[in-house]
Subunit: 337 residues, 2 copies
């Protein structure tokens, strides 16, 4: 367990926040001023629960916290509120801000006391889309730097990368890219992943992600595809290998560059003319670095990366909901819903 | 075994042709005038060989033919000439025609007598690409209707769909689209395929491909994506299901429409201005019908479908190589190489 131990008497906690995704569960103990007092992580995503299910995972991640501070309000965001989560929570439509998200909180008692589940966001136009968990990270980014609320573009790379356009302090619209999932599928199951897999099997090791040059080559190939996009260039991952231009080990970096590059090509094409607004990357640092590299390949150098914004987002939503600050606020908010 | 039995004395055969791909092997007995006298099929693709390997598959598919006509020349096209085939055959560069392909034939004796292996085609610009087997089908189409040689666009749907531009009787250039493989991956392994799989598991049956409306919806979504392409719309397969617009069973047809539509969107974008040349579909009839439907969604109604062009292509190449027509030509051609 990843933990950031608290020693001796310290600031009084005011909120327990959970970022409960598909593959991991993070628990945050948050102070009266929104400061992070303790952090824990477990691989207990909603698809990977321990024996005892949601309740056991909840008790494990909050172990000791509720015993010491039994009246702390609890807020949980992410897939825990999805159809396959602990309790399904209706989406809140875009545009969305801390107030509308807070209004969509669902208090829920799954046998562990009241947990306020954060709703995900939905969008109907131009293409229907949904997110769960990322809304909290975006609102956290806006809480950390309110200037970003004026106009910015949040990119949250991952299995499913979200591009969210922010304006007037609100999430105006967003788009989901399956880039991470697509890369894993093509690597593990397609003809494009075969050379690297055979290479790794021969060496008795994984090939790793080493070639920045091959990644950049893939990004450039995607950029140059223009309005055609990469449907007709995906196969070059194989033909460049057959032609000896790429080694087996380089094919995966090239493929990653192609896919991330096509995501950026597509995403930038969809933006209004006049160049993209300030871009903010949020998420896993090595992955954000790859996106920063790829954005550089498109001539976009001014990109900011924010680390873990989840705690700030949970705090921001809790403040908007009025469930922090007053000790007995928690039960009142639950009664009202 | 699929066979077209020959009864009694008939036209004298002049060539044995094999179309030997990744997942299937087809054998053709071809007459002096190029007419198809007998046809056989087995699921003995180069990745699915029977016990005894290539030689056993060869003896099985030609069973009886060589015993009756021991001097017949043999021509084989497809993945049998790939790195993972019986014997690797170097590609012939585009532009290519029957003469250049015939010049690249490699006579090979794998213990079953001389087999002339047909080279695949390669392309270096603008994007490196390769094909094996489709060149024979395209040359067959041109043999069936020489008028197509002036200017046409061949589409050969399948796991990997090839778009080949033909002019002056030659294959000028081509592009590979992984559409079929991508669809199977997304259906079988991604979050997009999950609703249909759960639906099928509940019903105890496969959902089948039933909804033409959902397919057309996907095609329209891809067309409307314009220069962005579908990277930001793939996920709509799930969000439209979550929103209740698509049933679980319809999601796969919609996804198929999205992918085929994006292939067409991308392919048409890459063509020179002035509209596409006459389009010819070659391959599996139901799949060609889907492509015809999708092309219709892009306003392209005048599309021709050619059935099995492999035998005509093998014959055309054999004629160009001079290995048919003269009984002892076969051994002479082999000696020269």
């Amino acid at each position: 367990m990843e933990t950031l131990a608290m020693r001796g008497p310290g600031p009084e906690p005011a909120l327990i926040g959970l970022d409960w995704g598909t593959s991991s569960l993070r628990g945050y103990l948050i102070g009266r001023d929104g400061a992070l007092l303790d952090r824990r992580g477990q691989p207990w995503g909603v698809q990977h629960l321990p024996a005892g299910g949601f309740a056991a995972a909840f008790r494990g991640i909050t172990d000791g916290w509720l015993e010491e501070w039994p009246n702390l309000p609890i807020l949980a965001s992410g897939m825990v509120g999805s159809r396959h989560g602990w309790r399904e929570v209706p989406y809140v439509d875009c545009p969305a801000d801390p107030t509308t998200v807070a209004a969509g909180l669902v208090p829920f008692d799954g046998g562990c006391g009241i947990i306020h589940l954060v709703p995900g966001l939905s969008l109907s136009h131009p293409t229907p889309d949904v997110m769960r968990g990322e809304e909290t990270q975006i609102l956290g980014g806006l809480a950390i730097d309110p200037a970003l609320g004026r106009e910015s573009l949040f990119l949250l790379p991952g299995t499913h990368c979200k591009w969210a356009t922010v304006g007037n302090g609100r999430v105006l619209r967003f788009t989901t890219y399956l880039t991470g999932e697509l890369f894993a599928l093509l690597r593990d199951h397609s003809i494009l992943g075969r050379p690297a897999a055979e290479d790794a099997a021969r060496d008795g090791s994984t090939t790793g992600h080493g070639s920045l040059a091959a990644f950049r080559h893939g990004v450039a190939m995607a950029r140059e595809s223009g309005a055609s996009g990469i449907p007709g260039r995906l196969f070059s991952t194989r033909s460049l290998f057959l032609a000896g231009t790429l080694t087996a080990a380089q094919t995966l970096d090239y493929l990653s560059g192609l896919l991330v590059g096509d995501e950026i090509r597509s995403g930038l094409t969809g933006l209004p003319a006049g160049g993209p607004p300030p871009i903010v990357l949020v998420g896993d640092r090595p992955l954000c670095d790859r996106y920063r590299e790829a954005l550089g390949g498109f001539g976009i150098a001014d990109v900011r990366t924010l680390d873990e914004t989840g705690p700030a987002g949970l705090w921001r939503i809790a403040v908007a909901a009025g469930i922090v600050g007053v000790p007995d606020e928690r039960s009142r908010a639950a009664d009202q819903s």
